[in-house]
Amino acid sequence: MSNHGQERSPGAPAATGQDAGDNLEYRVAHLRERIAGGPLGELGVRLEVRGEAVLLTGTVPSAHCRDEICGLVDEELRGRRVHCDVTVADASSPDQAEDLA
């Protein structure tokens, strides 16, 4: 059975019907759905499995929102390395305009 490039913890058993719940790729996919469809309602954050770690990228409207998402991912993937590279949107005025002549 192929693991589709999925990297597992050293010593982890091969994915079978019994341990599919531990499959990091599926866990991350379901977590992404929760972040998008749950109370957070955040579709702008990307979660990617990078080896043994999980990388979060994207831009969110507030530090509060970023902390909520990164906190949830940390909690749900406890024991995994989670890199939260989520940034907060810049709310400053532009310093130039584009001329569409």
């Binding site: 309602g41 990307r46 831009t59 409207p61 507030s62 929102c65 532009p94 305009a97």
Partner: protein, 256 residues
């Protein structure tokens, strides 16, 4: 010259109250109109819509908006619309409006739009009822946009702008995973824009996309999702006499 400010995907909620107001208060110095390209709230609740309303209330420039998918999430888009309109915005869905900016008449045609994908890679109205409904909704939005732009063509506008949440072209999605393009926009919107004609098309929705694009008919497209433009808004200067017509380029000045 018409100075058009635009932003989408501001995703406001109580914890972001007041964050955009300082920038919006600078608008009269740099813009004649503010366009909001949908996803103004996180979940489309009235509580969040009140935050957006307070952000734009009493601004010295007219505000024209469309809603996005987030603004529909709570199932109360009419309430969101009413709250924004109470704060002075015009919220468009399948209709156009003419805003007078200085001496210029700016026509804005708006729809949320929807997905379905782009030419050669699009969903069809076939099979399961939910699939047919998906494509019908996209077509309905595009038809509303076309009709609104055509209405504006008869309103002596100096410029016409198509305002959507979903993208009319794939070019401004560059940076998003290709696999999700059908959920980010529809070529039906671009076809409507090129059929009816416009000077600029503005959309949001694709946070990881790219700002600049163009329809096949030569209408410039700008993705103004806040994460893309990296500011509270961007400003585009439009010139009344240099509209880009729909269809192929006009012949030289000695042509028919």
């Amino acid at each position: 010259m018409i100075r058009t400010a635009a932003v989408g995907d501001i995703h406001m909620a109580p914890e972001t109250r007041g964050t955009l107001r300082p920038a919006f208060e600078t608008l009269p110095d740099c813009a004649d109109i503010l366009l909001l390209a949908g996803d103004l709230t996180r979940h489309g609740t009235p509580e969040e819509a009140r935050v957006v309303a307070d952000e734009i209330r009493g601004l010295a420039v007219p505000v024209v908006a469309v809603l996005g998918n987030h603004d529909h999430h709570d199932g109360r888009p009419e309430e969101v619309t009413a709250l924004l309109e109470d704060a002075g915005a015009q919220v468009l869905e399948g209709r156009g409006t003419v805003v007078t900016c200085g001496g210029a008449r700016v026509g804005v045609a708006g729809t949320k739009g929807f997905g379905g994908g782009f030419v050669g890679r699009s969903a069809g109205e076939f099979g399961e009822p939910v699939m047919k409904e998906f494509v019908r909704h996209s077509r309905h939005c595009a038809e509303g946009l076309r009709a609104s732009l055509e209405f504006l063509a008869g309103q002596d506008c100096d410029v016409r702008i198509a305002l959507t949440h979903y993208s009319p072209v794939p070019e401004t999605l560059a940076g998003e995973p290709l696999e999700i393009y059908p959920f980010l926009g529809s070529y039906l919107l671009a076809e409507a824009i090129d059929t009816a004609g416009a000077d600029l098309a503005v959309h949001g929705h694709a946070h990881a996309g790219t700002e600049n694009g163009m329809t096949n008919g030569g209408v410039r497209v700008r993705n103004v999702a806040q994460p893309v433009i990296g500011r509270a808004f961007h400003v585009y200067h439009l010139h009344e006499r240099e509209r880009v017509p729909a269809g192929p380029p006009a012949p030289t000045d000695d042509g028919p």
